[in-house]
Symmetry: C2
Subunit: 251 residues, 2 copies
């Protein structure tokens, strides 16, 4: 599992990896497997653990009083969950499994102790909080300003980037365990409209989605749609090369 962080502080990268290695040594002591649709955390219910996702897909989502649903954030392997609730247990969102997942578990108490004694772990925790916030900022932009195509392009490239990181994608195709309805719930669009945009992208030879397999046939064209949503760092990192493991990185 590699973790990436923008250039300005190169030494941080090593420490993050070190922190992650430590977690990877300790946390397997307790783990859990989940099947799709299972719920890890119910809205409103406290929990006293943090989780490290090692395989599969999870989503933080909220159900409105009138039934509307919004997927706020999607978690992929390598992500840590539940950090925020180390401090404040109640939280109004639920976390559910999108695709069969494995996660490792650590009590809040132990996690706090670990963070206190191991600065690399502590840094790893902080980084996750910052990364979550970065993703949320990006997503607010995307929902507030992007049209349907921009949103979908952005999301697909984000998934691609993160899955490449996690070693779960090769080249330009990856497995996407979200139904089009769930995509819509994340994108703020209707299932019908998601479907239509996907058709347009397919007909343009840019991207196909078939039985959960996403194949990006024209990364550049897709990136062009996503471009306006990219932040300045993504933009400049794009400009000076990037090659393989570049790609957007948010959700």
């Amino acid at each position: 599992m590699t973790i990436e962080f923008p250039p300005p502080r190169p030494q941080i990268q090593d420490r993050l990896e070190a922190g992650d290695v430590t977690l990877g040594r300790i946390m397997p002591a307790r783990s859990r497997r989940m099947k799709a649709h299972e719920v890890l955390i119910k809205a409103g219910e406290p929990h006293g653990e943090i989780y490290r996702l090692t395989s599969g897909w999870l989503a933080r989502s909220r159900t409105l009083s009138d039934g509307r649903q919004q997927i706020i954030m999607v978690f992929l392997p390598g992500d840590l969950l539940g950090l925020k609730t180390m401090l404040f247990d109640r939280q109004p969102d639920s976390i559910q499994c999108l695709a069969p997942a494995t996660l490792q578990i650590l009590d809040h108490g132990q996690a706090l102790e670990l963070a206190r004694t191991d600065p690399d772990v502590s840094l790893r925790f902080m980084w996750q909080l910052a990364e979550d916030e970065r993703r949320l900022h990006n997503w607010v932009i995307c929902l507030g300003r992007g049209n349907a195509v921009e949103r979908i392009a952005t999301l697909m490239l984000d998934f691609r980037g993160r899955l490449l990181q996690a070693g779960m994608a090769e080249g330009d195709s990856f497995n996407l365990p979200l139904t089009q309805e769930q995509l819509g719930e994340h994108l703020g669009l209707t299932i019908v409209h998601v479907n239509r945009i996907l058709r347009r992208l397919r007909e343009a030879g840019i991207l196909t989605v078939n039985r959960g397999l996403v194949e990006i046939h024209d990364v550049d064209a897709l990136s062009l749609y996503a471009a306006p949503m990219q932040d300045i760092f993504e933009r400049e990192s794009k400009s000076f090369g990037g090659g393989l493991s570049n790609g957007a990185s948010f959700t």
Copy 2:
């Protein structure tokens, strides 16, 4: 300045206030005044300080490559800014002044030291990070699922709630230093449409906005519009009374 946090851990409230008092004792040593339109942090530029907003309005916003703008979050007195960048300096958003503001400044170094030695301050920092995240979650929901009226109602009630907290609103009216264009940039709407919705609300006798003065004439009606966007805790706290200082609390 009072800080509020949901019930489950009553003792936390006191510690947060204690942390805030400490900051309020130390931070005035360095401060800065800003006029509207001034920029505190330019997108992409690092800074080595955290800020405590004591009066006025600030906004975190991003300008897209094609000129579109999105206001990601609005800061009101009592908020701490720049915590995230204690760890990671570069950030793609800029922070600008919406209404004449006063803020206190503390070096990252001193802040970290303070956090290390004073657990209440540390808690206050963590709380701010969590609070920011909560607001972002709520805002994602609002943008992803809410229509124009719901968004505006939600935002107005949020402002009202936070301003009451900060002692900057009395009863049901407050000063709103955002132009309708800026409102649109935050709400993901056009200036024209913002204007029309405000007219509708005015004609319905629910809310008027005149020269920066927002007057909510019918809080209940407005709350009804905002209701679906409210999270479960806001919902239940609404149900058992609330009276004065209730109200939504996000942006």
